[in-house]
């Protein structure tokens, strides 16, 4: 089982996420993570879906996604040819005496302290899944109160773009 990162442009319509999630569940495909947000075009949203599947089923996933009327374009992003990032926020237990060590750790990882309370510190870190994975165990020694991850977002390296080769015309004369 290999993880594949798909970038999907969809029409920004009510229910489009339900269509995609429903397709995955009814065909027994496994979504590892899913992130969705707007793009520079207000009519278009972009999803980044990380799928755990073998290559044969990946082809089916892409084809079945393509059958959804509101899906405009799908590309697979090779990890070597793309930048993949995720945002993680972790709230750990730490009183004033522990902050020094914790802040040093945050510095080493290039993370950021985004909130401090009497006995908690909230840390944000952005980066690839590996980087996030290395910080988390170190924070566990303090006691993790809660954490949240955004799911991966990804973009191709170099001058390639998901909009290449297909001008996305939202009005089409038939």
């Amino acid at each position: 089982m290999h993880q594949h990162t798909l970038s999907v442009l969809v029409e920004n319509r009510p229910g489009v996420l339900a269509r995609i999630a429903g397709m995955f569940s009814r065909r027994s495909y496994n979504i590892h993570s899913l992130a969705v947000g707007p793009t520079d075009d207000e009519h278009v949203s972009r999803l980044t879906i990380v799928v755990g599947t073998d290559p044969v089923h990946l082809e089916q996933v892409i084809k079945q996604l393509n059958k959804l009327i509101h899906v405009l374009k799908i590309i697979e992003l090779d990890p070597a040819e793309s930048v993949q990032m995720e945002l993680q926020m972790v709230k750990v237990s730490a009183d004033a005496s522990q902050r020094g060590d914790l802040f040093a750790l945050v510095d080493v990882f290039g993370a950021e302290v985004v909130d401090v309370d009497a006995d908690t510190v909230t840390i944000a870190i952005a980066g690839n899944t590996g980087r996030l994975g290395r910080l988390t165990p170190l924070l566990e020694t303090y006691g993790i109160r809660e954490m949240v991850r955004s799911g991966t977002v990804a973009i191709a390296r170099g001058d390639r773009s998901i909009t290449d080769g297909s001008k996305l015309r939202l009005q089409r004369v038939v």
């Binding site: 029409e11 009510p14 079945q64």
Partner: protein
Amino acid sequence: MQVTGAQAVMRSLEEVGVDVVFGYPGGAILPAYDPLIEADLTHVLVRHEQGAVHAAEGYAHASGKVGVCIVTSGPAATNLVTGLCDALMDSVPVLAITGQVASTAIGSDAFQEADVLGITMPVTKHNELVTSVERIPGAIREAHHIASSGRPGPVLLDIPKDILNQSFEWAWPQHLDLPGYRPTVRGHGRQVRDAVDMIAAARKPVVYAGGGLVRAGAGDELLDLVELLDLPVVTTLMARGIIPESHPRALGMPGMHGHYVAIQALQEADLLITLGARFDDRVTGDLDHFAPHAKVIHVDVDPAEIGKNRHVDVPIVGDAKVVVGQLVKVARDRGEDAVPDAGAWRDHLSEVKQDHPLWCKQPDEGVIKPQTAIQAVHAAWGDDAVYVAGVGQHQMWASQLIPWSRPRQWINSGGLGTMGFAVPAAIGAKVAVGRDTPVVAIDGDGCFQMTFQEIAAAVQHDIPVAFVVINNGVLGMVRQWQTLFYASRMSETTMGQDLPDLVKIADAYGIPGLRASHVGELESVLSKAAAITDQPVLVDIRVDSDEMVFPMVPAGGSNDNVIESADEWLTMAIADTTEAATARERANHDAGLGRIGRELREGDN
């Protein structure tokens, strides 16, 4: 001009060329039923919403046009689910319009509210909740286009009652707003040439013709291809009639209950020319053993079907009519070089066909074998008629035994296997084909009881369908599996031939009801029924309850193991138990599998 949303629905349906709708009124759709009175549309009032969608399917199957049904919100919309799923599985163009509670009430668990968008998402090609009155014409134009283009399928529009009641300045959209929907029509030129090369090099080619050819109206093109290159053809359950059964190259139906020669042709082939078919499990059996020597050309309008179940050597995405036309043109330009050297193969298949006919032991008098009944039905109504079946043994026998002569002559529920399909679908088909073409519903007694209330619609709207029930008093196909796989422990499969009395049912609906109980009267009863063309007629044919459908490849089994008769089955089962008094039997017993060999077991699907 100012119109209401309800008027816009009617006008939009007229604009896209709809002339008949099957429906059932109710609270949320009431506004649309008012302008229906003046609309240039025929409305058929069904007796259950499932009947409306199956009738729309039957209409679409028979005509190739989009079948339309219109019902209210909540329970009416949920009653469409089975038919929508059926239409999705068999690629039937259907447009369903459902009323919805007022947009201000959505989400409040209002009376007769259901999340129809959510419920029907997995059973439609596309669906939409219409959120403004101005959207109605565009939504209907797009829904009609999506339903009928590419791989056809059901599209549902859910329209809240307040939107039907609002007014707006009528405007018909000048273009479709579907940037993410661009079905490929024409096959890739190089792939088409590669396919022609591959056919020319084959020694054992077979055309594996599927329902996509019927949907695309590709009968003439298929015949051109077959005759130009002298190719044997098998036709799936959904494609029966796409090439006449009388054609010398026609080998019949492949699959679980297919003709022996058709199954064998796929198993021995070195090339499958797959046209609008989808390697369904009922055709392939165990995929690992299906057509083991064959390369595969796969033509389909749906790219997702290509490579889904079977590796493909030459994939061609495109409309079957267009692509087969392209294949014919390229092959014709090449002349003799395009024709494969397959004389020995064709001779071999002719021999296999001759040596392995379908057969049944019909006594000269007394009990009617269901196969005899089906053949007598065909004899009575002839090649002009359209035949519509339900699901089960009667369906398999009809598909096997009727010598299909043209596309759209055979209508049935294939992918979903929907019992209850025949009665409403036959009504829809009859509306489509008109008075001069007979439509015969060949139904089982189990199926018939699921939807026979629609006879009332046939009577009320003067739709003279012949309903012929192959009445064995049992759920025949399930009982067959119980006989074969569950040591004849018949669990809940007996219904009784007299319950209900079908002749009295006919009487209650005010139509002629006839019964044939023994073989001597079969022909005269059916010719009497066939002579009734001005009103619906119901025929009850009492048949042998124990007859089983053969040939048979048990589900999930290899197509190399075709069992051609009950006798052969019993012989194998007995041989299996006598020679295996040993470890395997014990292992089977421990696994709770009884004494029957692996190749004779039920399988998991």
